[in-house]
């Protein structure tokens, strides 16, 4: 003990200046690091809005401050992961297989713990907010089952997704203990999903069931958030380090993959159950109170549609002044178009004449004016920051303040982990102080991050999402007055939107915190053999392709299953021939791509285009963004794969003489 104290005395006393001298470059580096991740997508969006669409950025100050806060938040959060969450998961993972909890065998207690962790993670990072947003415009009469799942039965939905994720983490951990490969899980899981999807799409009850597909597949993409992924990854790595026998290639990856497949299964199963019980709007057993809610919703949707129709009328009324100047013989401005109505056609002297026709001049709207405010009116940072610690936790995180969202996402999970570690396993973490600093950093980071998203990314995403429609359709630009005409004809415009989506998806993915964490973990665990950049670039390109396809789906009203089934069918053979490492990395990266940066940017675009093309819902983009990266990562894996050693006897290798001392 005396030696311990002696050592403490050795600690350096730092002056204030020295402290600053250490802190400043550190903080600067961290912020610069995040800036490098984020700048591309932000600069690209601003460039696109200003130079391609030709509209100014509305509420630029709010957005600028929001983005600054996002970068700050990311810097804190990533440090929080490095110092707090990941070491916690790792130490717990490596201790679980060594010590018993309450006398249970290690494997049993690990599995129970894994289930609880998985289920809890779902409640902590509720994806339901995102899904509700995507399904906001769902009309109960057109998609009764989907509406039911998202509204009256949303708690059942979250619970079943939670059970799905819990089972996934449980199986993932069992896999580590047994040293099983991930491939059979993928093949069985994907086959099952494909069969169910085909049944939903083509089976006898297709008209009710098929609309749920988008929700189900998107569920798989969004369930794993930036807190869950690093925790589950580091936990898996810890477990593997302890139990891996060296024969298997398990390194701790693969849980996220299962946590993406199982929720889809869970949602599809739940839909089948509800359908067979008739417990949905227009079903036989739908309860009366829920029916009331649905009826109100039907009216709301109807009203919203009518007002939208009224807004998007294509011309501006001509005023008395216009009439006066016209009568004075002035030429009409260019914005007037001529319409000819009625009349009876007949041929006179070889020419076609319209007799008694009516000539109408219509004034089309021209140009739009942006509001003068650069600060979004009604935006109160304090309100966005906290709602007074009133947790709206369970099924609707939309109303949570940034602080509450962060606390709810991090504190319960960390508490469970720490309790299991300290009380259950009786293992005191070595640097408890560091852990708490890390967790505090993570909470601060998450809070700032949520706040910045609300202030900056959401308005920017909404703006671009609404305005990109202007490429092929006349629109009233977001929060502006007036109307702009389509920039291109319909097909070119849609192509522009799809290309826009491609680059947006690429940039947003590079900024995703969960993917950054996954990339660093891969690099760390393979001792640098797999570079983070390799994974990030392949994933980003995959997401870009996926999102572009998803936007095409909405723009052209394609059926989701056309786009989902073929890639997954393609993936089964690719998975089977790929190396175990790339299978693990590739499939895991699918689960982490759709996080807090991509979703607000991409979803808004999907919804914006969806409303113009009369799509039922905005689902499907995220599911596509999930399958894209798996394909690219596996393909890159096959491309860069070392050629297997040629038959050993063929090559007499060089430089091989044993050197010995004389």
């Amino acid at each position: 003990m005396s030696a311990e104290q002696n050592y403490d005395k050795n600690k350096l006393k730092l002056s204030f200046g020295e402290t600053l001298g250490i802190l400043w470059p550190y903080m600067r580096d961290k912020v610069v690091e995040q800036l490098q991740c984020v700048w591309f997508v932000i600069a690209y969006m601003i460039f696109f809005q200003v130079f391609i669409i030709g509209l100014p950025i509305v509420y630029s100050l709010t957005i600028a401050i929001g983005i600054f806060i996002v970068i700050l938040g990311l810097a804190f959060f990533m440090e929080g992961l490095r110092l707090g969450l990941m070491p916690l998961g790792d130490v717990l993972g490596s201790t679980l297989p060594r010590k018993k909890i309450l006398g249970l065998p290690c494997i049993v207690s690990s599995l129970i713990f894994a289930f609880v962790l998985g289920a809890f993670a779902t409640f902590a990072e509720p994806a339901i907010g995102v899904l509700k947003q995507a399904g906001a415009g769902v009309d109960p009469t057109r998609a009764p089952l989907l509406w039911t799942l998202l509204n009256t039965h949303s708690s059942t939905l979250v619970n079943s997704v939670g059970i799905g994720v819990g089972l996934a983490v449980l199986l993932g951990v069992l896999r580590f203990y047994k040293g099983w490969s991930l491939k059979p899980f993928i093949v069985v899981g994907v086959s099952l999903l494909t069969a169910l999807t085909l049944y939903f799409q083509l089976g006898p009850h297709a008209e009710v069931l098929k609309v749920v597909l988008g929700l189900a597949w998107d569920c798989g993409a969004v369930t794993t958030g930036p807190v869950t992924v690093p925790l589950v990854l580091s936990l898996g790595i810890g477990v593997c380090r302890s139990v891996s026998s060296g024969d298997s290639n398990n390194m701790g990856f693969g849980v996220v993959t299962l946590a993406s497949i199982f929720p889809i299964l869970a949602v599809l199963t739940l839909s089948l159950v509800l359908h067979s019980k008739g417990d949905y709007y227009t079903g036989n057993n739908f309860s009366a109170e829920n029916l009331e809610i649905a009826k109100i919703k039907v009216l709301e949707v109807k009203a919203a549609k009518e007002s939208a129709a009224a807004q998007s009328s294509d011309f501006i009324p001509v005023t008395q002044e216009d009439l006066a100047s016209y009568k004075n013989g002035e030429i009409l401005p260019d914005s007037f178009v001529t319409q000819i109505k009625g009349g009876s056609p007949e041929i006179i002297e070889g020419k076609l004449h319209l007799k008694d026709a009516e000539i109408v001049y219509l004034r089309q709207p021209e140009g739009a004016t942006a509001p003068d405010e650069i600060w979004k009116p009604g935006t109160d940072i304090g309100e966005l920051f906290t709602n007074g610690l009133k947790f709206e936790v369970f099924y609707d995180d939309v109303t949570n303040g940034a602080l509450e969202g962060a606390l709810w996402a991090i504190i319960p999970l960390c508490t469970i982990l720490l309790l299991v570690l300290i009380l259950g396993l009786r293992q005191k973490p070595k640097y408890l102080g560091d852990l708490f600093v890390g967790i505090a950093c993570a909470i601060a980071g998450m809070t700032l991050f949520n706040l910045g998203i609300g202030l900056g990314l959401t308005p920017l995403g909404d703006q671009l999402g609404a305005n990109i429609v202007g490429a092929f359709n006349a629109i009233i630009p977001w929060e502006m007055n007036g109307m702009v005409q389509p920039l291109f004809n319909e097909n070119t415009g849609k192509a522009v939107a799809i290309i826009f989506a491609f680059i947006l998806g690429y940039g947003a993915t590079l900024a995703e915190p969960a993917l950054n964490a996954l990339g660093s973990t891969v690099e760390q665990i393979t001792v640098g053999a797999f570079k983070k950049n390799l994974l990030m670039q392949s994933v980003a390109i995959g997401v870009a392709c996926g999102i572009a396809t998803g936007v095409a789906k909405i723009a052209y009203g394609l059926e989701l299953w056309y786009l989902l089934i073929p890639p997954y069918m393609l993936l089964i053979p690719i998975t089977l021939i790929s190396s175990e490492e790339f299978v693990n990395f590739g499939w895991d990266s699918a689960g982490v791509t759709t996080g807090p940066i991509t979703v607000p940017l991409v979803l808004a675009m999907g919804l914006g285009i969806g409303t113009k093309t009369n799509a039922i819902d905005g689902f499907g983009i995220l599911a596509m963004a999930s399958v894209g990266p798996i394909i690219t990562v596996l393909c890159v894996g096959l491309l860069v794969k070392k050629k297997p050693n040629v038959d050993a006897t063929d090559i007499v290798s060089s430089e091989t003489d044993v050197k010995e001392a004389a």
Binding site: A3, N10, Y177, V527, A529, V640, E655, T656
Partner: protein, 381 residues
């Protein structure tokens, strides 16, 4: 309480094989009698040739497993033969095996070493005098620096260096909570070269890795007894009929020696004589192996006793006993090995301090070995 046994005539052997060979090689080594195979995941380094997409999507480096074994000198030859045979190192296999003579080894009685039949009385066939024509260059450098060094080494003719991860200890741990702002992550680079190439490779690595920058790292060489090198340094297009290595080997054979490969070391010779690096000499490297959970206590002891800095790497030991264990869910034991570079006259003092701490903290498995350092280079104030 644990008492320490001292041994001589033992060499530290590094066996580096591709990941897919590791299970069979470990099995073999255990069957040869070793009980202390420390296994660390490592990566090889290769300079890449190839099409444009290799720039955007760099191919993964070869995944290797590095094993360290303490082998009695009398077993060395047999050990080498067997390992080379099983790991197919002589054919197309990629691998590296080399031994470093240890000056002395101390281990606590609980530490698993070579199995009992120590064969002290068997005929000592082995070579106790050291060869002078091979050296190993080792380096501890900030995370991210290893690739630069590897490139420097490969371009000056060495095989692809082997890289493992480690953590640095020292001043950082004395900073209170603000230590969090400094990452302790280091990379450990090792490469075996011919003495004719030693100076060139050493200086190229020092230059590429900017080793003389403050706080950057520590580069040193140790003599090597025996080595068998078959690690490619260049990832080549498979369209070539012969690899660069095969060409070099063929030329070696034609010339009958390796002198033709000697190149002038222009970098340090010609320009700035003033800034010529000052090499540290008269150092030894003391390594201490102990279970990972307990390594921190021993590092503290070493630092208190006056070691300037320590670096610690982590690996697992799977000894012959646990192999036999029927329990499918056996757990691996993790070990930390603490490297210290110190002056020879301080070795005993620091060792004693660590031993004392080990006894105090009830650490029963500790092993020390000391290997000579020929020269070293780092930032000097």
């Amino acid at each position: 309480m644990s008492s320490f046994t001292q041994k001589n005539k033992i060499s530290l052997v590094f066996v580096i094989v591709p990941k897919h060979m590791r299970t069979s090689v470990v099995k073999l080594i255990n069957s040869l009698g070793a009980r202390n195979v420390v296994r660390i995941t490592a990566r090889g380094s290769q300079v890449q040739e190839g099409a444009w997409f290799t720039k955007i999507f760099p191919a993964p480096s070869p995944e290797l497993e590095s094993m360290q074994i303490l082998v009695p000198d009398c077993h060395i030859n047999h050990f080498f033969e067997k390992v080379i045979e099983v790991s197919k190192m002589n054919a197309a296999g990629q691998g590296l095996i080399y031994s470093i003579p240890c000056d002395e080894i101390d281990h606590s009685n609980n530490y698993p070493v070579w199995t009992a039949s120590e064969e002290e009385n068997s005929i000592n066939l082995s070579n106790s005098d050291h060869s002078n024509n091979l050296s190993s260059i080792m380096c501890i450098i900030e995370r991210g620096g290893a690739d630069l060094m590897a490139k420097g080494a490969i371009h000056s003719g060495a095989h692809g260096p082997v890289v493992t991860f480690a953590e640095g200890r020292g001043v950082r741990d004395k900073i209170p909570l603000l230590r969090l702002t400094k990452t302790a992550e280091k990379e450990f680079v090792q490469v075996v070269v011919d003495d004719t190439d030693l100076d060139l490779v050493f200086s190229q690595m020092a230059k590429a890795g900017r080793i003389t920058d403050p706080g950057r790292g520590f580069l040193y060489t140790t003599p090597v007894n025996k080595a068998y090198i078959n690690l490619p340094g260049v990832k080549e297009e498979t369209t070539h009929t012969a690899s660069m290595q095969q060409l070099i080997a063929a030329m070696d054979e034609l010339k009958g020696n390796r002198d033709w490969r000697k190149r002038e070391n222009e970098e340090f010779d010609s320009k700035d004589k003033k800034n010529e690096p000052v090499f540290l000499e008269n150092l030894v490297s003391l390594t201490c192996i102990t279970p990972r959970d307990q390594s921190d206590a021993l590092i503290e002891a070493a630092l208190e006793a006056g070691a300037p800095a320590a670096s610690v790497g982590f690996g697992s030991i799977k000894d012959a006993e646990s192999e036999k264990g029927a329990d499918r869910n056996q757990v691996n034991k993790e070990w930390g090995f603490i490297h210290l570079a110190i002056a020879p006259d301080k070795v005993d003092f620091i060792k004693d301090a660590i031993k004392k701490r080990a006894v105090d903290s009830n650490i029963s498995e500790v092993c020390f070995y000391v290997i000579p350092v020929s020269k070293a280079l780092t930032y000097l104030g």
